[in-house]
Amino acid sequence: METIPEKPFGQEPMSTDPRHFRAYRMKRRWQETHDTFTIELAAMDGSEPVNFAPGQFNMLYVFGQGEVPISISGDPRQPSALTHTVRAVGSATKSLRRLKAGEGLGVRGPYGSPWPLEGARGNDVVVVAGGIGLAPLRPALYELLHRRADYGQIVLLYGTRSPTDILYRKELARWRARFDLETLITVDRATDGWHGHVGVVSTLISKASFTPANTTALICGPEIMIRFTALALEKRGVTPENIYVSLERNMKCAVGFCGHCQFGPLFVCRDGPVFSYPRVKGLLAVREV
């Protein structure tokens, strides 16, 4: 078994009570798709921003409504604009959507393991996202592009259910216009006006240009998508040790106390959410682990 941890960018020491919040307020919120929105938060007391590493997540608490783990989707070089992209599917995420600008919420974190961007230096990087799985990968893309010269080819493969589910449209348009980033998008179901690729995201792997032997792959999306994407990358010749996946499990505490996020011997909150593929490959093949 191999571990990833890279040093997060100057992570601040935590409070002695790991369940202690910092007070934040909603700065602004905008709708990304019909069920997904992005929020930008600011520390209530105007204190120094807490740095984070791409791939990490926060626990967001809405007064009396509940708490939910949400990956950070903003630019790690601009931590003062704490950014989360949220799909409104449960009571906590829906109450997050109802928060108005200026209203308070609790934030604790950042938690979890980051994407191994340092270790990928000199390699081609293939980023594969399914649905809202693009959110925890966006900070990695920002950082890769900040340090563009450190990497070889950079490829973004993004799949959603339908064209209306595509996140970050303006940004994607800008990224598609770049010559130093190959962006391919696919949808499971096309609708009128869609002229792009149709099919699951793993079908894009054969279309992208990268050198498998020198490639680091970062994958986030539904578990079934992760599994088949990793297999397809392996088949194309990417070394399993260079494939990283971000997993999702129920989380209540984010610090390894509550037991909910266990995945075999792993605590997704503490050992993950980003894992090297060989560490989880066997478990991914078992139903209902």
Partner: protein, 379 residues
């Protein structure tokens, strides 16, 4: 370790000394047709003369025919209900303008003294310590309770029908985790406690309790009791290669067999002294101005436990039982360098259908596809 003797008649003085020093005594007492742990004041609150008959899915109080104070094994309660309460408010919050303020919980409860903790339970406590206070994060409520709690252990004078602490190397003799350890000796007309001191705190308490050095014959009598207990375990579990075996047994056909008997009721996780899983509930009052967060025991046997958007990760009973058993005996070792089972047998006794973890392991080994005769089972 120096052995002492406290006479039965002087034991009350131990209790009153602890009370006098501000300890809240938590110990075994008769309630709801079982021996449970609750607040006690005097020796008379102990289940004097009672014992517990235990088998898979069965627990019965029985008269002993003597006046033993600790002549039972284990009830449905464990000390985790004191260290990690079943329901605990983590904080309150009040609305202020557009935001809210957090009101921390006061830490004003009296220190506790556990009376009558068994060796397997001391091991269970140290396992929970690893989870909640010895990792990268510390649960401050748990740590506070643990650090101020005094532990008086009792070595088991008999083995219960579902006990297998010998297999798990966690008993029956208390070897760690106590301030004072007692072995109850009823020898004809004599009734005394062979006493060992585990900490300076324990030694200091004993300064106020009449005692004397133990004679060799008394030490030998106490040792015979513990040895007899060790030799008469109700169950055994062969642990050789067990972790590796269970990692290879995710697709074993026997899980379906257990699932047909398991009600997914969560009893085993509630009575288990090492199970640490919790959930949180956020509530508000009717005005919506006051909110609270409660931490409550949770169980990997519920559908909610593994719920993420789209459904429960473990929707089948089979997957939940597999998670529980595999966690106890395999993945726990990789997480915390110890098994999550101490062989107390509570999960066997309190399972409404009598599912027996020791027997399920035997069946799993027998039914493992590709198993070579004699290679996996007990030699």
């Amino acid at each position: 370790m120096k052995s002492l003797v406290i006479e039965r008649t002087d034991l009350e003085k131990l209790f009153s000394t602890l009370v006098g020093r501000g300890y809240r005594l938590i110990g075994p007492t008769l309630r709801e047709a079982a021996i449970v742990y609750g607040e006690i004041k005097t020796v008379n609150d102990l289940p004097i003369g009672w014992t517990d008959g235990q088998a898979a899915g069965q627990y019965r109080l029985q008269r002993r025919g003597d006046a033993a104070l600790f002549g039972y094994n284990l009830g449905p309660h464990s000390w985790k209900k004191e260290n990690l309460p079943p329901s605990l408010r983590l904080f309150s919050a009040e609305r202020r303008d557009q935001s809210f303020v957090i009101i921390e919980e006061p830490a004003d409860e009296l220190p506790m003294a556990f009376i009558g903790a068994r060796s397997c339970e001391l091991h269970a406590i140290s396992i929970q310590d690893r989870v909640l206070m010895q990792g990268p994060f510390v649960d401050p409520t748990y740590a506070r309770r643990r650090n101020q709690t005094l532990v008086i252990a009792v070595n088991c004078g008999q083995a219960g029908g579902t006990c297998f602490c010998v297999s798990m190397k966690s008993g029956p003799q208390a070897t760690q985790g106590f301030d004072i350890a007692l072995t109850e000796v009823l020898d004809g007309h004599r009734h005394y406690f062979l006493t060992e001191v585990g900490t300076t705190r324990g030694a200091e308490i004993l300064n106020d309790v009449p005692h004397r050095a133990a004679r060799d014959v008394e030490k030998a009598a106490a040792q015979r009791i513990v040895d007899r207990t060790a030799a008469t375990m109700g169950r055994k579990l062969y642990t050789g290669g067990l972790k590796e075996f269970l990692y290879s047994a995710y697709e074993n056909p026997h899980w379906d067999d257990v699932a047909a008997r398991c009600l997914s009721c969560a009893n085993c996780t509630m009575v288990c002294p090492t199970c640490f899983c919790t959930t949180v509930e956020d509530v508000t009052d009717l005005s919506g101005a006051h909110a609270e967060r409660w931490q409550k025991w949770d169980s990997c046997f519920t559908a909610d436990f593994s719920y993420i958007h789209g459904g429960s990760v473990r929707s089948s009973t089979k997957s939940r039982y597999r998670q529980w058993l595999t966690h106890k005996l395999a993945t726990w070792m990789d997480q915390f360098s110890t098994p999550g089972c101490v062989g107390c047998g509570r999960c066997i006794t309190w399972c409404p259908t009598g599912i027996d973890i020791t027997q399920e392991v035997v069946s799993l080994r027998e039914r493992q596809p590709g198993r070579k005769e004699q290679s996996d089972g007990e030699p």
